[in-house]
């Protein structure tokens, strides 16, 4: 399959899932009135999402005092109305791709994505003009193109994995094997799904910042968060041993916003523990 054909197929959602209605409903609510009861009304119709939200609301991160949460309304309150969209999105998307390939490590994929989302959101508080919700969504979806490859090519994605083990970054390995890489494929899918243009752009350039004439803060944010996932066990062997932050164009852009940036990096390193906790509980397959 060549590059043009693949991108064409993605645009038509051939062999790819559409986003379920509930996501669009929440997206709409987000723009209009995002009241607790309106959200509850939409979400309660979906028992799977409701059950997951309850579980997530009961994690230490959202519920530090450990009162047991059993009602959807309270769960939404604890998670935060602002965060509901990204949390629901992550629940939905995780279950959307029925990938059978033996070489697809479903848990690793989602934990990595979640961690990237968590760090993006964490960093977004410093960066003017980037909402935490958008940052989370972008982080969560940044590698979604990999799922497209798995959906189309199944186990032959393993060729890419082999190349990365030799030290070639995944997007370059994909270029070599498929003629196109997950950042581009992912951005096309997200565009079809109707996600905001800024999200699409950030996903498109998350590995190749400097290819974008004037990369956005959001792009820098997700790029850096992806690097910071290295600090956990939820990262891919990208062939890169270490990244000196001060040499990274994305970090140089963000750094100006952060007063004591070295300190914040340490803090994020500490907070990653929480993220891992939530990821373990909420996003692993039961």
């Amino acid at each position: 399959m060549n590059r043009e054909k693949l991108l064409e197929d993605v645009k038509k959602l051939n062999k790819l899932p559409a986003l379920p209605e509930v996501v669009y409903k929440i997206m709409l609510l987000k723009e209009e009135d995002c009241s607790l009861s309106a959200l509850e009304g939409v979400i309660s119709k979906d028992p799977v999402i409701t059950a997951k939200l309850l579980k997530i609301a009961n994690t230490v991160y959202f519920n530090p005092y450990g009162q047991s949460v059993t009602g959807l309304k309270r769960a939404i309150e604890l998670i935060g109305v602002r965060n509901i969209f990204s949390v629901v999105l992550s629940i939905v998307v995780t279950n959307l791709f029925p990938i059978e390939a033996k070489t697809f490590y479903r848990e690793l994929f989602w934990k990595h994505s979640f961690l990237c989302a968590f760090i993006s959101k964490r960093l977004s508080r410093f960066v003017k003009g980037v909402s935490d919700d958008t940052a989370f969504t972008t982080g969560l979806l940044h590698d979604i193109g990999k799922l497209v490859f798995y959906s189309y090519f199944g186990d032959s994605y393993e060729k890419v994995v082999e190349l990365t083990q030799k030290g070639i970054p995944s997007y370059l390995a994909e270029m070599r094997v498929f003629g196109v890489s997950h950042d581009e494929v992912g951005s096309v899918l997200l565009e079809v799904w109707g996600l905001p243009a800024e999200v699409v752009e950030a996903v498109r350039f998350h590995h190749t910042l400097t290819d974008s004439r004037n990369f956005s803060e959001l792009t820098a944010l997700v790029h850096v968060s992806n690097i910071l996932t290295m600090l956990s066990s939820f990262s891919y062997n990208s062939g890169v041993l270490f990244v000196v932050l001060n040499d990274d164009p994305g970090w140089l852009r963000l750094k100006d916003y952060i007063t004591d940036s070295d300190y914040e990096i340490h803090k994020i390193f500490d907070d990653v523990v929480y993220a891992i906790d939530i990821a373990e509980i909420a996003w692993s397959r039961e």
């Binding site: 990262s235 041993l241 270490f242 932050l245 001060n246 004591d260 070295d262 990096i265 340490h266």
Partner: protein, 275 residues
């Protein structure tokens, strides 16, 4: 036996000058027990120290915390292996040099040595790499260094080691006792000196000479003044593209100025010299 405030202050000062260590109330009891076991009267302690340098080192043995084990903060050694492989490919005209600061009973420098052997094996299929690596290890505790030179371990200290590592790099001497094999031991040299002494660091380590420095769980016993001295010496010892490994919970951000850059790795945050 009790030690008066005045005498304790004196000892404290001597230890601080010699080692940068700040000793506290708990050490006062340890010290008292030690003195009574040696039948030394605290009052005459100061003179005796002047007289008998060995006594000072015995006291240092009493007040240092030597806890350590093989492959402590394990994921850092995976990063180290990658760095060493890269260096092996690039550096051929000199030895690759690694300094283990506050090496205690030797587990850390030997873990570094084993990692060096593995990196070499990965590239060239042999563990024999004495001509390529040089690991320097120092401590201020004589007792700890003696144990390190003996290189015999068991129990707690080797709990992280797999069968495979034990078989490849150790010789079993008794049911619970393993000696580090010669080809690993030969990579490491031990010295008795303080990381806070710039005179000794220049003398034993030199300028711009280390590719990596490990200084883990040592500066936590220092005050800011000693931490600064230690870091200045480490900075001088490192090459311009050198790496510094601290324990995961330690930071130098308050004292590093603009001398080190943060590098993100699978083994957590490490530091790279900025020049």
């Amino acid at each position: 036996m009790t030690i008066s405030d005045r005498v304790f202050d004196k000892i404290r000062k001597i230890i601080y000058e010699k080692t940068g260590l700040v000793i506290g109330i708990r050490d006062r009891d340890k010290l008292a027990r030690f003195l009574s076991s040696r039948d030394i009267r605290p009052k005459s302690l100061e003179e005796e120290i002047e007289y008998d340098r060995k006594l000072l080192y015995d006291i240092i043995d009493v007040v240092t915390v030597n806890e350590t084990f093989f492959f402590r903060h394990e994921s850092q050694f995976e990063v180290l292996e990658g760095i060493l492989k890269d260096l092996l490919k690039r550096v051929t005209e000199r030895k690759i040099r690694i300094w283990s600061v506050g090496c205690s009973t030797g587990e850390e420098p030997y873990s570094i040595a084993i990692t060096a052997c593995r990196a070499h094996f990965g590239l060239y299929g042999s563990y024999d790499c004495e001509s390529r690596f040089e690991i320097i290890a120092n401590d201020i505790s004589r007792e700890a260094l003696n144990k390190a030179k003996e290189a015999v371990y068991g129990g707690y200290s080797i709990r992280n080691l797999s069968r495979e590592v034990l078989e490849t790099f150790f010789q079993q001497e008794a049911p619970e006792s393993y000696r580090v094999k010669d080809f690993v031991r030969r990579l490491v040299t031990f010295y008795l000196f303080s990381v806070t002494s710039d005179y000794d660091v220049k003398r034993y380590i030199g300028f711009n000479s280390c590719d990596c420095v490990f200084c883990r769980n040592v500066m936590i016993y220092f005050d800011d003044n000693s931490r600064r001295k230690a870091l200045d010496n480490i900075y001088d010892a490192l090459r311009s593209d050198g790496f510094l490994f601290l324990a995961p919970t330690e930071t130098i951000r308050d004292i590093s100025g603009d001398r080190f850059a943060i590098a993100i790795t699978m083994g957590g945050i490490i530091y790279v010299v900025k020049r």
